[in-house]
Structures are given as structure tokens and as C-alpha cells.
């Protein structure tokens, strides 16, 4: 489903989606209309440096042109480092970081997210950590640390709290991951 935007040679503006920028505003990219496409964000962006098709400036440009499908079919937004160089440098206080996040929120609602993201989300729900290695107990023990860190992985009640919060967010209505009440301590 997600493919490189390099396959789109011609962009058909008549197929653009009206109201896309408004949707982005509602999803957190509140100042997108302040963008003047000056390119300061692109000049600092690791995505641009690494050769991704859609870095901050081009994502904003595509949104302003209503090109939702183009962005939904491109992986770049998920490679955003959240480094905030763009937000630091933007002369119009657009906060391009928030626009990248808003675009992800739109993509998630169309189920256009990579498997690695789903894995992290599932792990956050199941154990309270987006990154989790079940085999970490042995190296921890060898270093003289308890096998489980003093976090949600060692505390069923704490994990239940995190899960209770997550079940009251839009994650619960999206159905991206199974959200039972068990996690690693169940069954």
C-alpha cells in the first residue's frame, strides 16, 4: 500500500481534496496556512538530506494543494525524526513538526501506516513500552540489574493504568491493535 512517491510523475490537481488543510489543522497542524514555502525547514531536514520524497516543505505544499492520496501513498512522513530543527528555524512559526504529526494522524485513520509503527503501538499497549525486548532479562541480570526494570513491565497495576488511559483514546476506536485487558500478565 505504501510506495515511493517517485512513481507519481504527474500530479493531477483536479483530483485534489478540498478541505485537506482544514483537516490537518484539526489534527494539530494549526498554523499550516502561515507557510510561505520559504524552504528554511527543508534546509535543515534530515529527510531531505537522506533523499526522502516528501520532507517538511513538500508535505506542507502537498497538503495545501489537497494532494491527500499522494501523501497517503508515500512512506516519508513515517521517517520523520521528530528532531524539531524545522520548528526551531521556521520564521513563520508554522511548527512543521506538528504538521508531520498531523499528517500521520490523518494517515493512521486511513490505515496507511507501516508495520513497524503498528508493532511499536502494540508494544506500548501490551507492556507499556514502545520498544521492548523480552530477552533483555539475561543481559540485565549479568550487569547486576533486576531482570525487569521498575516500570510497567514489573508492575501489573501500573500497566493496567496505562492500558486504561489508552482505551479511552482514539486508538481504541481505530482497531489497529487488539486491546484486551490482559497484556503480558494475562492468560
Amino acid at each position: 500500500m505504501l510506495k515511493s512517491a517517485e512513481t507519481f510523475e504527474i500530479i493531477n490537481l483536479s483530483k485534489s481534496e478540498a478541505g485537506f488543510a482544514e483537516e490537518i489543522k484539526k489534527m494539530g497542524g494549526e498554523r499550516i496556512l502561515e507557510c510561505i514555502q520559504c524552504g528554511k525547514c527543508a534546509a535543515t531536514c534530515p529527510l531531505a538530506l537522506a533523499g526522502f520524497s516528501f520532507f517538511n516543505k513538500r508535505v506542507i505544499h502537498a497538503i495545501l494543494n489537497g494532494l491527500k492520496e499522494v501523501l497517503l501513498n508515500d512512506i516519508s512522513i513515517w521517517a520523520c525524526q521528530s528532531c524539531n530543527r524545522c520548528t526551531e528555524t521556521c520564521p513563520r512559526r508554522v511548527d512543521p513538526f506538528e504538521i508531520m504529526m498531523a499528517m500521520r494522524r490523518v494517515a493512521v485513520r486511513k490505515y496507511a501506516l507501516p508495520a513497524t509503527a503498528i508493532k511499536g503501538i502494540k508494544s506500548l499497549y501490551d507492556v507499556g513500552h514502545a520498544v521492548y525486548l523480552s530477552e533483555a532479562g539475561e543481559p540485565r541480570k549479568k550487569l547486576g540489574l533486576p531482570e525487569k526494570p521498575p516500570t510497567t513491565v514489573a508492575d501489573p497495576e501500573a500497566l493496567a493504568e496505562v492500558q486504561a488511559i489508552l482505551r479511552k483514546t482514539s486508538l481504541a476506536t481505530l482497531g489497529i491493535i487488539p486491546m484486551g485487558e490482559f497484556g503480558i500478565f494475562g492468560i
Binding site: R105, T116, G120, L124, A130, A164
Partner: protein, 296 residues
């Protein structure tokens, strides 16, 4: 002095030797660590921030609530945790409606965000709270004749507007460099100093592009400085620089290996820690450098 230790996923599960370094270095500097039992993920960018902002802030606020109950601030050695929790603080302290929504969620689990704690980056905490003089006085092994390439990491720097503790010139950071120099090392500038390491969302999305960034930076370090060590303030940079080199060597892209440490690991060894304990999980060999430091 007491502070909550916000551990973070990558440290707890990927690099617990860094966790051990924190547990050694801070008490050695007179700072007692609180475990903040029941803490969770910050949460990181690819999870709730990419789905539901209120859910993001609520998971973060729950972590703050744990610290508030204990009356402590939190420190982290992970710049992602720092960035996510700092953005949470900023939002909750500047946006009343979001804060109310978050507190309604927290109320259902018997918690409340009051805004009395904050997240502090270990590097700034060392510099601002403990101070170079005190660190210097407690050093057992110095780094004389050692040269390091400094890798500050993104999220401890930007966006500076939301960080109470920051560099004087945000695009010319100096603090990590100064912290290395006070241990006795030289930490000269190099051309790609501010480049991103390529970890994070980029590495999980496109490893080839991610490794292209780290390769370019490694080559600049090697050519311009030929350093004994790469020293970073961020656990993600640590993992990227440490694990990418083996891969790049196998691919024939680089023909060198530069040992990589988080600053707190290096500090722990200078304060007397056993190298194996605080840096034993490095993939790019580092113990030979650390053992030499201990021998003086």
C-alpha cells in the same frame, strides 16, 4: 539531592549498561535516584503522538504524576524521552483545555497532573545542577591525551523555545563539548557536527537511507578528527553509531571502527566504575579504551 530516574525503553531493554552507568554516576556525584516505580514509555513519536495528541499527553502526564507524588524532578539520558515529555509539559502548561482533558483521563486511574515536576536532560542536569567544578573534583581517572568527536543529539536542543535549560547559541551547542573537556579530553569541532545520526523513525522506515546519514557523519569524524571515541548525549545516537559501524564495515562502506559512548557512561568510568558494568554491551569494541583510561 534526589531526582527521579526516567529510564526509557531503549536504555532498559537495549542498553541496560547505560542504565547501570546512570545508577553509578549520579550517586557518585551525590545525587540519589528514585526509581519512579510504574513509569512507562514517554511515549515515543511513532506511537500516541502519531495517533491522538491527548492520549500522548495523558501517558506522559501519568509519568509526571508519579514523580509529583514523590516530590522529585525527573532526569533522562534519552533525548527522545526528553523531547516527548518536554512537549507534554509545554502543552499542559500553556493549554488549559488540553490539561483538563488529560486530567479527566488521569482521574479515572486515580492520578492527577499538577505541573510540579519536570523532565531534565542528564547533560544539562550535570552542567547546570551539579556543575563542572564539582564533577572535576570527584574525577578519579582523567582523559588526558584522548580525543573525542561530540554528538549532541537533536531533541535536547530543539525546539529551544520550550526548554528552560538550553545552549546560549542553539545552532552552536557547546555544553557536551565542555563536559568532555572537563574530564581532560580534547573535543574539537568538525564539519558535520550538527547532522542527524539517522536513528529513530528514519531507521525503522528505511535502513539504507538512515545508514547513509550515519556513514557520512562517521567519515567526517574519522577524516577530520580521527577520534579515540564518539561521545553522545542521547541513547538513540549511541545505539545508531554503535550498531551501524559493524553493518557498514560488512558492506565495505567504512574500514574503521570508532568506539561510541553515552557521556554518562564515560563519566561513570572517570568516577571509578568498572567498564564492563557500564559499557559492556557495546557492539563496536570500547573496553580497550576504557581500560586504558583506568590505567591512567
Amino acid at each position: 539531592m534526589k531526582v527521579g530516574f526516567f529510564i526509557g525503553c531503549n536504555i532498559a531493554f537495549n542498553r541496560p549498561d547505560l542504565e547501570q552507568a546512570v545508577r553509578y554516576a549520579f550517586p557518585a556525584l551525590g545525587v540519589e535516584l528514585d526509581d519512579l516505580e510504574g513509569q512507562s514509555c514517554c511515549p515515543t513519536w511513532g506511537t500516541m503522538p502519531s495517533i491522538d495528541p491527548v492520549g500522548w499527553y495523558a501517558v506522559g502526564a501519568r509519568n509526571f504524576a508519579i514523580a509529583e507524588e514523590k516530590g522529585v524532578e525527573m532526569i533522562t539520558v534519552c533525548s527522545t524521552c526528553y523531547g516527548s515529555l518536554a512537549k507534554t509539559t509545554h502543552k499542559l502548561q500553556t493549554h488549559r483545555e488540553t490539561r483538563n482533558r488529560v486530567n479527566r483521563l488521569l482521574k479515572s486511574i486515580g492520578k492527577e497532573y499538577r505541573g510540579t515536576s519536570r523532565i531534565r536532560h542528564a547533560v544539562y542536569y550535570l552542567y547546570d545542577e551539579i556543575g563542572p567544578e564539582k564533577i572535576k573534583a570527584l574525577i578519579k581517572h582523567g582523559l588526558e591525551r584522548l580525543s573525542v568527536a561530540v554528538q549532541p543529539g537533536c531533541l535536547s536542543l530543539w525546539p529551544s523555545e520550550i526548554h528552560p535549560e538550553k545552549e546560549a547559541d542553539i545552532f552552536h551547542p557547546k555544553i557536551l563539548q565542555e563536559l568532555c573537556e572537563l574530564l581532560g579530553a580534547s573535543a574539537p569541532p568538525y564539519s558535520r557536527f550538527l547532522d542527524c545520526c539517522g536513528m529513530g523513525g528514519m531507521r525503522s522506515t528505511d535502513m539504507e537511507k538512515s545508514f547513509k546519514l550515519v556513514e557520512r557523519k562517521l567519515v567526517a569524524m574519522k577524516k577530520e578528527l580521527n577520534p579515540d571515541l564518539i561521545v553522545t548525549g542521547c541513547s538513540s545516537c549511541l545505539i545508531q553509531f554503535d550498531t551501524a559501524q559493524e553493518f557498514l564495515q560488512n558492506k565495505g562502506k567504512i574500514n574503521f571502527a570508532i568506539p561510541v559512548l553515552h557521556y554518562v557512561q564515560l563519566l561513570a568510568v572517570c568516577l571509578g566504575a568498572e567498564p564492563q558494568q557500564v559499557a559492556g554491551l557495546a557492539r563496536t569494541p570500547v573496553l580497550h579504551v576504557l581500560n586504558k583510561i583506568r590505567e591512567g
